[in-house]
C-alpha cells in the first residue's frame, strides 16, 4: 500500500440507475371470473356461503369469514358513490388539463367498493350518495380489463 498523498479527488455523490422488471400477473380464480364478466358487460361478485355477503371485486374466499366462495353472482352496474376525490395531478405528479373525479362506488346489493372514474359530471357536482351507472366501452373494444368500464355517470 502506498503512503504518498495524492491530491484528493472530488467525491462522487450519486449513482443513477433503475429497477426494471417485466411482469405477467395471472388473474387468479376470482379474477378470471371478474374480468371475463367485464368483457361481456357484466359485473361479477362472489357470495359467501356463510354470511351471504357479496363481494365486488370478487374473491375466492370471504375476507370476513375465511370461507371459500361457492357462488359467483352478477350484480347491477348501478350503485352509490361512497366517497370521491378530484385529481388535479396525474400519476407522475404532472398537472392535468382537466381535473378528474374518482370515486369509491358501492354497487347495488354488493359489499365492498369499486374504485373507478366518474364521467359526464363536473367536480363540483359530485357528492357522496350520488347514484351512478357504468358506461361501458363498446363490445368489440373490451379486453377483459377494469377499463372495459369507461367510467360511471350520474343517473337520476
Amino acid at each position: 500500500m502506498s503512503l504518498e498523498r495524492p491530491r484528493l479527488p472530488h467525491e462522487i455523490r450519486h449513482w443513477f440507475g433503475d429497477m426494471e422488471c417485466d411482469y405477467v400477473y395471472t388473474l387468479g380464480i376470482a379474477g378470471e371470473k371478474f374480468y371475463a364478466g367485464l368483457k361481456e358487460g357484466r359485473i361479477i361478485g362472489s357470495k359467501c356461503p356463510s354470511c351471504g355477503a357479496i363481494w365486488v371485486p370478487p374473491s375466492l374466499y370471504c375476507p370476513e369469514c375465511f370461507e371459500e366462495t361457492s357462488e359467483w353472482v352478477e350484480v347491477p352496474d348501478e350503485g352509490t358513490v361512497y366517497t370521491f376525490t378530484v385529481a388535479y395531478v396525474g400519476p407522475d405528479g404532472e398537472p392535468l388539463e382537466e381535473p378528474e373525479v374518482y370515486a369509491l362506488i358501492v354497487l347495488d346489493g354488493a359489499n365492498g367498493g369499486l374504485l373507478h372514474k366518474l364521467g359526464e359530471v363536473r367536480p363540483e357536482e359530485a357528492y357522496i350518495g350520488m347514484r351512478v351507472k357504468a358506461v361501458w366501452a363498446p363490445e368489440g373494444e373490451r379486453k377483459g380489463a377494469i377499463t372495459d368500464i369507461k367510467y360511471f355517470r350520474p343517473v337520476e
Binding site: W15, G17, M19, E20, C21, D22, Y23, V24, Y25, T26, L27, G28, I29, A30, G31, E32, S59, L60, Y61, P63, E64, C65, F66, E68
Partner: protein, 394 residues
C-alpha cells in the same frame, strides 16, 4: 432464553402444490395453505389471535407492500398481523416470529404462513434477483444471482477438497425423495452423471445442482401449551429457535463456512438443551436451494464437522445409507427445495411442515424409519448472510 414464558406447539400444517407457474394469485394460494393448516388443527380463523406472514422480495410477486396485499388470503383480516422478512431465511423465520408471539404470553393461537409467486416476474425471476445487489458497487458488473452461489460452492470445494461428483449425490438423493411428496415440482430419478451432464449455468453450478423458481404457499398453526393439549393428542413442541445475520459485504468473509448458521444453531440448541447435535437430532431439513448448500448447512448445523458432510461418500448407496430415510441421519426426507421446489419463503416453511409431519409419524411414504423424536429445520438467504433454525420435538 431465561424469560421464555410458555411452551409452544405446532398443531396443524398446510401446503399447496409447488409449481413453476400457477393460475391462482398469491392471495389465493395463501388461502389454500392457511385453510388446510386450520382444518388439520381443527380450528377456524375465528380461533386465531394473530397472523405472521413470511414472503421474500416484493419484486417477485410484483406487488409492493406484498405483506399487506396478501393479508386477507392469509386470514389476517382485522387481526394483529405482521410480515417478517430475512430473504431466503424467511420461511423458517416466520414460525420463529409466530413462536415469540405465543411464548411471550401475548397470544394463544397464531397462524404462520409463507407465500411466494415468483412466476409473476416474467420470463424469469432472475431479473428481480439482480436488484438485491449493491446498486453502485456490484450491479454495474452485471451479476446474476447464481454468481454468488457458484463462488461459494467453488470456495467450499477448494478449501475442503470436496468433489463435484460427491455434491451431485445430494441432488440425486433429494430429487428421489421428492418422488414421494405429493406437492413436488421436480421429483426425479436421476444419476450423478445426469447432474454432471446437465447444462452449465455458472461453473461449478449446473442445471441439476439448482432448485427451480416456484409458486406456492405453506402454513403452520402454533398454540400455547394449554390450548395445544386441549386441541390435539400429538402436539409437536418448538423447543429451540435461533437466527443470526452477517453483513451484506459477502466478499469480505470466507465463504467456505456459514458461521452465521452455526451461531443460529447454537442459539436454538442451547435453548433445546442439545449438546451433541448428530446424536440428539433424528431428522433434519437443512436448506438446499443448491445441492452443495445441504452440505454447507449441515456443517453449519454441526451435524457434521467442517468439510466432512460428504467425507467417505462415493456413490448413491453411500449417501442413502448415511442420509436416506432409513439412513444413519435422515436429511431432507421431504425432497428439499431441489425436489419439491423453491417458492422462497414457502419452501423454508415446507421444511418446518415436514419436520412436523415426521415427528407425528404422519409423513406417509416419506416417513423416516428411526422413530424420530427431535428434528431441526433451517433456512438461509439474503446475500449469503442469514441463518434461521428451529428445533422441534414430538
Amino acid at each position: 432464553m431465561a424469560s421464555v414464558k410458555r411452551r409452544v406447539a405446532v398443531i396443524g400444517a398446510g401446503i399447496t402444490l409447488f409449481r413453476r407457474r400457477m393460475r391462482e394469485t398469491g392471495r389465493e394460494l395463501s388461502f389454500y395453505a392457511a385453510k388446510m393448516a386450520l382444518e388439520t388443527a381443527g380450528i377456524t380463523i375465528r380461533d386465531v389471535d394473530a397472523v405472521v406472514c413470511g414472503s421474500a422480495p416484493d419484486a417477485f410477486d410484483g406487488v409492493h407492500m406484498k405483506g399487506e396485499y396478501l393479508l386477507d388470503g392469509m386470514g389476517g383480516h382485522n387481526k394483529p398481523y405482521v410480515r417478517v422478512y430475512v430473504g431466503g431465511g424467511t420461511g423458517v423465520f416466520t414460525p420463529i416470529a409466530a413462536w415469540w408471539h405465543v411464548a411471550s404470553g401475548h397470544f394463544d393461537i397464531v397462524l404462520a404462513i409463507a407465500e411466494e409467486k415468483m412466476s409473476s416476474c416474467h420470463p424469469h425471476p432472475q431479473k428481480a434477483f439482480t436488484t438485491i445487489f449493491d446498486p453502485i458497487y456490484t450491479r454495474p458488473l452485471g451479476p446474476n444471482l447464481v454468481w454468488i452461489f457458484a463462488l461459494e460452492m467453488q470456495r467450499y470445494m477448494s478449501v475442503h477438497g470436496v468433489k463435484k461428483e460427491q455434491i451431485a449425490l445430494i441432488s440425486v438423493k433429494n430429487k428421489r425423495n421428492a418422488l414421494d411428496h405429493p406437492c413436488a415440482q421436480l421429483p426425479a430419478k436421476i444419476t450423478v452423471q445426469d447432474v454432471l451432464n446437465s447444462e452449465v449455468m455458472v461453473w461449478p453450478v449446473q442445471k441439476l445442482d439448482i432448485s427451480p423458481p416456484s409458486d406456492g404457499a405453506a402454513a403452520v398453526v402454533l398454540a400455547a401449551e394449554h390450548v395445544a393439549k386441549r386441541l390435539t393428542d400429538d402436539p409437536v413442541w418448538i423447543e429451540g429457535v435461533g437466527w443470526c445475520l452477517d453483513s451484506t459485504y459477502w466478499t469480505n468473509r470466507d465463504l467456505y463456512y456459514p458461521k452465521y448458521v452455526e451461531y443460529a444453531a447454537r442459539m436454538a440448541y442451547k435453548m433445546a438443551g442439545i449438546k451433541n447435535p448428530p446424536k440428539e437430532i433424528d431428522v433434519a431439513e437443512p436448506y438446499d436451494p443448491f445441492d452443495y448448500k445441504e452440505a454447507h448447512h449441515a456443517e453449519g448445523l454441526m451435524l457434521a464437522r467442517k468439510g466432512e458432510y460428504l467425507k467417505g461418500i462415493k456413490d448413491e448407496d453411500d449417501i442413502f445409507a448415511r442420509y436416506g430415510r432409513d439412513g444413519d441421519l435422515p436429511i431432507c426426507p421431504s425432497g428439499g427445495l431441489l425436489g419439491v421446489g423453491n417458492p422462497i419463503a414457502a419452501a423454508g416453511l415446507m421444511k418446518v411442515c415436514e419436520i412436523f409431519w415426521q415427528l407425528r409419524g404422519e409423513a406417509g411414504k416419506r416417513q423416516v424409519k428411526n422413530d424420530p423424536r427431535t428434528g431441526v429445520a433451517q433456512a438461509w438467504g439474503d446475500l449469503m448472510q442469514v441463518g434461521t433454525v428451529i428445533v422441534m420435538r414430538a
